[in-house]
């Protein structure tokens, strides 16, 4: 049997309240603003089962699609990390295309693990992107 740590008996949907959504929305706004339109296009924070809770600079429809996609990739990442013995959870996954990046990060929010996905063009400085993304993850992980 598989296990995912969840000490709480609550369903995560009860934890996904307006306060959490607002916090996620605000942090995504701050991140996108750091780049002032240069390179970072879209960002979404979702539950690990693929429902968006905050969407930035993209349509709700695209955010929903990216959430489902990222939840699958993220789950495969967690599985891979365990299989090769490099940890229990992946912290980040970077997918590089010809024209840009998709960065996926795990947010270990207590009782309700989340996933963040950011798409960026090659204009974006990757180091800067990862730096601010990690900052967001650590702020978002605080209950």
């Amino acid at each position: 049997m598989n296990t995912v740590a969840n000490d709480s008996n609550e369903y995560p949907s009860q934890l996904v309240n307006e306060e959490l959504r607002n916090k996620a929305r605000l942090l995504l706004q701050v991140l996108v603003e750091k780049f002032g339109g240069a390179g970072v296009n879209n960002a979404v924070i979702s539950t690990t089962d693929g429902f968006d809770i905050a969407v930035e600079s993209m349509s709700k429809e695209d955010g929903t699609k990216l959430s489902a996609l990222s939840s699958s990739i993220s789950a495969i990442g967690h599985m891979a990390v365990k299989e090769v013995g490099t940890g229990e959870h992946h912290q980040s996954i970077l997918i590089e295309g010809e024209n840009g990046y998709l960065l996926i990060m795990d947010i270990p929010y207590p009782g309700c693990p989340l996933t963040m996905s950011i798409t960026a063009t090659k204009e974006a400085m990757l180091g800067k992107l990862i730096y601010y993304a990690r900052q967001l993850v650590s702020k978002m992980s605080e209950a």
Binding site: V4, Y11, S13, D49, G50, A68, L69, S71, I76, M79
Partner: protein, 175 residues
Amino acid sequence: MIEHKILFTGTVGAGKTTAIQAVSEIPTVCTDVISSDLTIGKKMTTVALDYGEVSLGQSERLRLYGTPGQARFSFMWDVLAKGALGLIILVDHTHPDPLKDLNLYLQHFARLIKETACVVAISKMDKSRPPPLQEFIGLLHKNHMANPVIAADVRDKEQVLWILDLLLAQMEVRV
């Protein structure tokens, strides 16, 4: 050793992960996460894939893949269907409209069903509740498909092996 890739799909909560765990000879690989969707009535749900293996005699081994159930993961259905030689569709009989559920998978996997083999297994079936098995068979006929439709408890290893036997029988007829 002949290896076949078999795909399990079907409604959320129908027992795809359970079926693969019931027969697999290796520890299964699974991508269950906590479900935040109260409507599906369970705490964990598969978001990418399940994987298990079972050998049949000395000469055949089946690689079993399971898909997520929800249509929002349909991109995974297509990824996992590549190279599959047979499809098992599990339908949860306790859902409000299991015929509509089945139809979704019949439509999406129509090509795979026609080109390879398929078994439809109805799980959690209470025979006193509609729709009866005959209506599921009727739905296949309407789609010009004549694959076996059975009721099964996928927690039971023997019953899952029986489903796999039904699938392999069709594959042998085609060869």
